[in-house]
Amino acid sequence: MEYSSKVMDHFTNPRNVGEIEDANAVGQVGNLKCGDIMKIYMKIEDDVIKDISFKTFGCGAAIATSSMATEMVKGKTIKEALQLTNSAVVEALEGLPPAKVHCSVLAEEAIKAALANYYKEQGIDPTPIIGCTGNCEHCHNHD
């Protein structure tokens, strides 16, 4: 796989790796069979993502998109974070090989899954706010 230097940078030195102990928004997407799982932890205060981290099982692109997506929403409001698209992540990484674009979709979905979890924990139905919450696009290559 030919990766951009930006992807290699985020793969080699991923930002925001790990868990947040007092996270109030946690979301996981993907599955083992497909070969990539992303888990996002957020600490949200006053509708602002104060802190964010991730754990990812997957290829170079999966790790790099996780790292980049967390960087892009860190310190942003929920509303801003919900506007994050997979193509914005791809662009920020200076492109991904076609076979790896699904990793950026997974990153977008992981952010949304964490935010959906944040609403659910408060007894709010996330669907009208967030829409699809994970695993909408991923792994269509498999049964």
Binding site: M1, F11, T12, P14, V17, G18, Q28, L32, K33, C34, G35, D36, I37, M38, K39, F54, K55, T56, F57, G58, C59, G60, A61, A62, I63, A99, K100, H102, N141, H142
Partner: protein, 390 residues
């Protein structure tokens, strides 16, 4: 350990040996004659060089030089064996081709192409070590069977097949037997007469000759239909002006392998043993894939839980180590390797596969360096993996 460069992907290709390069060099420079131009000495010398190489390859296989035909690659040899035999008049219209689920794509995709032409292709299953199911083979051979093609040793997991047993079954039933020995040739003894092999494919760049040259052993008396027609070189079996320098190189590389095989295989096997023992003892939740004993000397293939193969080999590359994986993410198809699926690994296990293939130029220091870096990388990747459980 200080950073070093470790080439541990010798199943992908090998470096050209200095003595091989020296032997081929004159044919890249002054000795540029066309072997077919036999009226002057320059052409005659080129012809003699090709014939010398043919003898050298034949000797390693226990074959007659007349049974060796030079090709452009191992893939071409596989194509010629399968297409040439199935299309030949000698098989008298028989339509069944039997092969295995773990063949190289040079065989699998050629078999698929033949199936599209209307041939009846059967893919034999293998056991958890990757050994072909002999009962399935016996059951698959019917009156309409022309050819059985089973690889000598697998490129991903290194498992060596029981060639003699397979050949005997084929001959009892009047069926031809081809083996793709691209990975095995020069690394393990292969005597075509003792084993009863009718056709055998081999490649130069897996034994320290350059890329772009291979050969097919065709037992005397067989007439596969040529797939490349033209000026009638290689006794009409493979037209096209001979790649003299590369053929000379293949001959020399084969000669060297033939001479040193026993010693080299013992050395490479000891390195692989050191690697396997080191990895399995130091890295938790790791396992060897392929047959524990009956495997190519240089092949060590592993699976590791909770990590993905592509990120593993990218990290190894950063440390200067060249390795391979059968993980889905390393391919465009996003499916894990057909070999790892065929030996019964679950998708999630196959995603964490790593293949390290050593050869004569590797050292114990290389092996220790690989183990040290692998341990460090796996620890880091597992710490960032949401599915890792100690």
């Amino acid at each position: 350990m200080e950073k070093r460069f470790v080439y541990a992907d010798n199943a992908a290709t090998t470096p050209v040996a200095a003595e091989v390069l020296n032997k081929m060099m004159p044919y890249l420079t002054g000795e540029y004659g066309n072997p077919s131009a036999g009226f002057y000495t320059l052409g005659q010398r080129a012809k003699a060089a090709v014939e010398e190489a043919r003898k050298q390859v034949a000797e390693v296989l226990g074959a007659d030089p007349k049974e060796i035909f030079f090709m452009g690659s191992g893939t071409e040899a596989d194509n010629f064996a399968l297409r040439g035999v199935m299309h030949s008049k000698q098989v008298k219209g028989k339509k069944r081709l039997i092969t295995t689920k773990i063949e190289h794509h040079a065989i699998l995709h050629t078999a698929e192409a033949l199936a599209n032409e209307g041939y009846d292709v059967v893919y034999l299953p293998v056991d958890n070590y990757g050994v072909v199911d002999i009962e399935a083979l016996k059951n698959a051979i019917n009156e309409d069977t022309a050819l059985v093609s089973v690889m000598a040793a697998n490129n991903e997991i290194g498992t060596i097949q029981p060639l003699k047993e397979i050949a005997d079954i084929c001959h009892d039933r009047g069926v031809l037997f081809h083996t793709d020995a691209v990975q095995a040739f020069g690394h393990i003894p292969l005597n075509v007469k003792e084993l009863g092999i009718d056709l055998l494919s081999l490649s130069g760049h897996k034994i320290n000759a350059p890329k772009g040259v291979g050969a097919l052993y065709i037992r005397s008396g067989l007439m596969p239909l040529p797939i490349i027609t033209g000026g009638g070189q290689e006794k009409g079996r493979r037209s096209g002006t001979e790649n003299v320098p590369s053929i000379v190189a293949l001959g020399e590389a084969a000669r060297i392998k033939g001479e040193r095989m026993e010693r080299e295989a013992a050395y490479v096997r000891s390195l692989s043993k050191r690697l396997q023992e080191g990895v399995l003892s130091k890295i938790p939740q790791s396992a060897l894939t392929g047959h524990p004993e009956n495997r190519l000397p240089g092949n060590s293939s592993f699976v590791f839980s909770a990590v993905e193969g592509e990120s593993l080999i990218m990290n190894l590359n950063i440390e200067g180590i060249c390795a391979a994986t059968g993980s889905a993410c390393s391919t465009a198809s996003l499916d894990p390797s057909h070999v790892l699926m065929s030996i019964g690994l679950a998708h999630e296990v196959a995603h964490g596969s790593l293949r390290l293939t050593l050869d004569v130029q590797n050292t114990e220091e290389d092996v220790d360096y690989i183990i040290e870096k692998l341990e460090k990388i796996l620890d880091r990747l597992r710490k960032m993996s949401p599915v890792w459980e100690e």
